[in-house]
Symmetry: C2
């Protein structure tokens, strides 16, 4: 099967919102008046971002999910995406499953495939996604990393650390009970981009980022761009690891032997969760709760922004903890 | 060097036209009122699109050039691009040279790097480019593949076949005199996207495509989308291969032994030239000439669109030639 047949069979669908989709030299998008276009791009490489034997349905989902998560972190409404795909071979069942996972998520968000490229090469998936952000009275409503201010509350959506636990288990570094693994593997392989929450936080959050590299790393980007510091209640974070709750409810929970240090490391350094980490002034506390309810997304307050730069970690007694999480592999 | 240092050192530059560039979850572009955004995406894989030892300066140029060529074929004005880069290792001299070639071309076209991704992996370069097309009285001015009509003239810019000749020579399949190779290797490795011509043809050309796969294949896309046929004067095409003229002027031209069949195959099947192939009504002949002059781009009439579908090749006596070019390797 040649490149054009492959595109026609698996990836060409009529567009409804784009002015022109697949099949010409360019796609055409006509942004609504009074909007900006938000653009993000992620490349997934086999062996680095996913295992060779990853279910292609889940891989199709995840390839778009990580991009939609960037739109969510910007408060943008998804519009369209391009897909560039390097394939070592034309494996039709693999392509059909990949396309199914991809389009299921795309359709759920009204996000159209408008163009791309396919070529022979080591498996590589590069998606560029386009979203829309309103501009109100000349001011963009995009959520940026640079808007956090001293006194703002720090929030995280959903749970952090689950994807990392699944990764450690799949790599054979940790033994995880089957019931727990079933939960966390979904979090690793089928992450949920927080698209509705991101849009609901426009005009409310002062800064936002999605957690792809782990809370410490990604919070660091907000602190650096906003020129502020933060204090984080680590045990609040641990409480909201899904696997922590799951393990407590499961008969075989006693098989999941993690030290307090390891729970904390999961919550602080676990990447690949694609939750939103955001800040908002205390005056917006009620509005944050309303946005969370409206978008049906759990949100938890996990700390506070401070004027003094740097990150301080405290336990549930308010005691400052040494921050050695970034530089130490707690699972080796 | 980590991902963020690498991006900061080689790829972060201030943006002038984008609302937000590199460094947040998304970049932000605000299209001008009354415009559409043209979007195209190309992925280049080592071993397939370029040799491992290709000069990184030329590779940086070419990676963006093939994308700008898609904008040109659409009549779009370049605005911005994203770059996703999988690198087998962090080779600083390579990165510096790649960035130099990339930004030299980007700056020449006022096209800003606004975002992207870097990761470890087999060398892979994926660029998505954004351009602007005016919408006049509700009608897009984009040049599409679907607008060719019976009676239109068929034109090609510049020269076709040179990049293929260079490829054959670099692969050791043909022996090419040094003076000729110097010319055609530049055509292969530093192609010139016809951006000014594409914009000058808005409102004049009825259909356009850039020649990346060879004239026969790319003309086929216009014919299929427009549901028409064409007649092509093959020897007109051969006359405008740059290496043909060059060989005739060069002392060692006699070393370039190509059969008439091979000259024709170069002109008809040589890919990677990134010239514009376009159609225009006969009433626009003078306007085409003016657009060519205004954009300082050579343009030659090479055929005509006909109502009867299919492609007919004729020689300079008007005799119909058998079309076996697509299915036969004339250089093996």
């Amino acid at each position: 099967m040649g490149e054009f047949d492959l595109i026609a069979r698996y990836f060409t669908r009529p567009v409804h919102r784009a002015a022109l989709g697949i099949g010409d030299d360019c796609a055409l998008l006509q942004p609504a008046p009074g909007t900006q276009m938000a653009i993000s791009c992620d490349m997934l490489v086999q062996g680095r971002h996913f295992f060779a034997d990853t279910d292609p349905r889940r891989l199709g989902h995840k390839s778009l999910a990580v991009n939609l998560s960037d739109l969510a972190a910007c408060g943008a409404k998804p519009l369209a995406f391009t897909l560039a795909l390097a394939l070592p071979e034309v494996n039709e069942p693999w392509l059909a499953a990949f396309a199914e996972g991809l389009f299921a998520l795309a359709d759920a968000h009204g996000c159209e495939l408008i163009g791309g490229d396919t070529t022979a090469g080591p498996l590589n998936i590069c998606i560029t996604v386009f979203g829309e952000v309103p501009v109100v009275n000349g001011t963009s409503q995009a959520l940026l990393r640079s808007g956090a201010r001293a006194g703002d509350n720090l929030y995280v959506s959903g749970t952090l650390g689950d994807a990392r636990l699944a990764l450690e288990a799949l790599q054979g570094k940790l033994s995880v009970p089957e019931a727990v693994l079933a939960v966390v593997r979904e979090r690793l392989q089928r992450p949920t981009p927080r698209v509705a929450l991101g849009q609901a936080l426009r005009g409310i959050a002062s800064a936002a980022i999605d957690v792809s590299d782990g809370l410490i790393g990604d919070l660091g980007h907000i602190l650096e761009r906003s020129r502020v510091g933060a204090i984080v209640q680590v045990d609040q974070l641990v409480q909201c690891i899904a696997c922590h709750a799951q393990a407590a409810q499961t008969d075989d929970a006693s098989d999941l032997h993690l030290s307090q240090e390891q729970w904390r490391a999961l919550a602080l350094c676990g990447g690949d969760d694609y939750e939103l980490l955001f800040t908002a002034p205390t005056s917006q506390s009620a509005a944050v709760a309303t946005a969370a309810r409206a978008s049906q997304t759990p949100v938890r307050r996990v700390g506070r922004i401070e004027a003094a730069t740097g990150l301080r970690l405290i336990d549930d007694q308010g005691k400052v903890l040494p921050n050695h999480y970034a530089s130490f592999d707690h699972f080796a």
